[in-house]
């Protein structure tokens, strides 16, 4: 073996001590980096453990009916999470309903139509928007979007769809609709940047073959490129969904923070993340805090499952085309 001639094995050499020392350091460096990796895994474990342990009081008091009861009364120590789960699901679905068509169409434009230079610049700008802090979207939601929704969007919605229960009742500005709209603006950049990547990963020969057969540019895109990239696009939508579910500040600022279930999108609501943000610092009593942490656990579980799925979807398309 080559190591038998390694100077550290030969005590006669004057530098033996030095060589032994650097070999020890070599081991130390390895162990330190390994320890960091394990420590990070431990942190993830700690997150799960803490959420689980701290939500035990609520789990033992209410059991799983916590998730299906709709009464949230901290003074009477009655806790039911349904209004928050409802608000979270409604705002997230509304956000996706708006953001997905826009996001996918825009990514088609950026990947298939725009000249590369333009596409790169636009993508750079759009990705920059993903870096804007959520509290800033909330600020804009309160002072810019809500007045606009009040004066333009709501009157037209109620005059056209007013017969639907979705658009009935008074509009106070803060509402599920406002939260959904703000969220849709926040998640669009994510959908665009991931979908564009996935579309660009579809091999060029596929497009050339289709075009050579006489299809139009749109038919190629719609029937060849998008089906090829479908899984990855769905992955990007899942990523956006996870983000919309967990988004806290912007939603808290515009959703109205009212623990009620209402069929109308114009009514105020509440989301899981928003109730934690709003009430955690002032919560008194173990059961109250524990209930909020249980909500955190629910949110954690939801986003983990969705993210895990999304990553698998994006990974499989990326690998297949590689």
């Amino acid at each position: 073996m080559a190591t038998s001639t390694y100077p550290a094995r030969n005590p006669q050499l004057p530098l033996a001590g030095f060589y032994r020392r650097i070999r020890v350091w070599d081991q130390v460096a390895y162990l330190v980096t390994l320890a960091s990796a394990i420590l990070i895994l431990a942190v993830v474990g700690l997150i799960v453990f803490e959420l689980w342990i701290s939500s035990q009081p609520t789990m033992q008091t209410f059991g799983w009916s916590f998730l299906t009861h709709s009464r949230w009364d901290p003074n009477g120590e009655k806790f039911g999470a349904l209004p928050f789960i409802y608000g979270t699901c409604v705002t997230a679905s509304l956000a996706l309903l708006i953001a997905v068509p826009f996001g996918v169409m825009a990514s088609v434009f950026l990947a298939e139509l725009a000249p590369p230079r333009l596409s790169n610049i636009l993508t750079f700008l759009i990705e920059l928007l993903a870096a804007v802090p959520s509290v800033i979207y909330g600020l804009i939601g309160i002072f810019v979007l809500i007045p606009m929704i009040r004066s333009y969007l709501v009157p037209s919605l109620t005059s056209v769809f007013g017969f639907l229960p979705l658009f009935q009742g008074d509009f106070y500005g803060v509402s599920l609709l406002s939260a959904g709209l703000v969220l849709s603006i926040m998640v669009v950049p994510f959908i665009i940047s991931v979908s564009r990547e996935v579309l660009l990963a579809v091999p060029v020969d596929q497009r050339e073959a289709a075009l050579a057969l006489g299809t139009t540019k749109w038919e190629t895109t719609w029937q060849i490129v998008i089906p090829n990239a479908k899984v990855g696009i769905i992955g990007s939508v899942f990523l956006a969904l996870a983000r919309a579910l967990g988004e806290t500040m912007a939603v808290t600022m515009v959703i109205g923070n009212t623990p009620k279930i209402s069929a109308s999108l114009l009514a105020p609501g509440y989301s899981i993340a928003a109730v934690i943000a709003n009430e955690f610092a002032e919560a008194s009593g173990d059961l109250y805090i524990s209930s909020l942490i249980f909500l955190g656990l629910v949110l954690f579980g939801l986003t983990i499952v969705i993210n895990a799925l999304a990553r698998i979807l994006v990974l499989t398309t990326a690998r297949r085309s590689a």
């Binding site: 169409m105 806290t248 986003t303």
Partner: protein, 284 residues
């Protein structure tokens, strides 16, 4: 034989393609209308007093957010000193030592950690730091943001170390350097510009985080001394002022939003410029 494309197909083609362009235009213009509005409105509300003085008690006009600006930097300092070394070393392990399976699984876990909602991280920092110590503190806020910095620190470190050509490693090993020496004296310096820009992006991302600070750093109307007291931060101030009923505070929220956004975007653009130039420069 060439088949003529029917007018209907031509029409659908033109319609859908212009629709996709229109969608891009709408998305871009909505987003930029919003940011333009913020920059315009925020810059108007900004003045020197805002940057240098403390918040005024409720009811009085004027005052500023000097304590929150300093507070944000203090919390970020704690966060960086927790999250970055840990993430960097783990990234080194992934890029240089780890086997394929472990690297894949670890990367997956780190990605999941990246997707955990920030409010949940806040709960953890509350449970681990605030509850045992029995009071809110800059340290707790730093721990929350520090955990949030780990995933990006790991991923950027791994990515930029992997982009260093193997010939550098082989050259160093051939000269008799140990593996650790090779990594820390040759590979890391070769990737340094990428690592620094990754750190900048990471900082810019957590600098705007509000949710995990609400019940860890809490807030403070005065200067916060040391690391164990509640501390004001820019994002939390924006939130508190924006939802308050006072008109004067709304102006301050806009100004604070402007300062925060300007910092975040400037750091982002600089970091992305460094990354875009990086590989070409280091390969020469």
């Amino acid at each position: 034989m060439l088949m003529a494309i029917s007018p209907r197909r031509k029409f659908v083609n033109a319609l859908m393609l212009s629709l996709s362009g229109l969608c891009t235009l709408i998305v871009i213009s909505v987003l930029f209308f919003i940011l333009g509005y913020l920059l315009f409105h925020g810059a108007r509300s900004l003045n020197l007093q805002f940057l240098t003085s403390l918040p005024k008690p409720s009811g009085e006009t004027g005052g500023g957010m000097a304590n929150a600006i300093v507070g944000s930097f203090k919390v970020l300092l704690v966060a960086t000193s927790i999250g970055v070394p840990l993430g960097f070393l783990a990234g080194v392990y992934l890029a240089e030592y780890s086997g394929k399976t472990f690297a894949f699984l670890f990367r997956y876990v780190v990605d999941l950690l990246n997707g955990v909602p920030s409010i949940v991280i806040g709960i953890i920092a509350y449970a681990v730091v605030v509850r045992p110590m029995k009071h809110y503190s800059a340290l707790a806020g730093g721990v929350a943001l520090g955990i949030m910095m780990i995933p990006i620190a790991v991923r950027t470190t791994e990515e930029f170390l992997r982009s260093v050509p193997n010939s550098l490693r082989e050259g160093s090993l051939a000269l008799g350097a140990t593996k650790a020496k090779t990594i820390f004296a040759v590979v890391v310096p070769a990737a340094i510009s990428g690592l620094i820009s990754g750190l900048m992006l990471n900082l810019a991302r957590v600098a705007g985080e509000t949710a995990p600070l609400l019940f860890t750093a809490l807030g403070n109307m005065f200067w916060s001394r040391g690391w164990m007291q509640p501390i004001a931060t820019l994002p939390v101030m924006i939130y508190n002022y924006a939802i308050s009923p006072e008109e004067d505070l709304h102006q301050q929220a806009w100004a604070a939003g402007f300062v925060l956004l300007a910092l975040v975007l400037a750091v982002n653009v600089t970091a992305k410029m460094i990354i875009m130039r990086g590989p070409a420069a280091s390969r020469r």
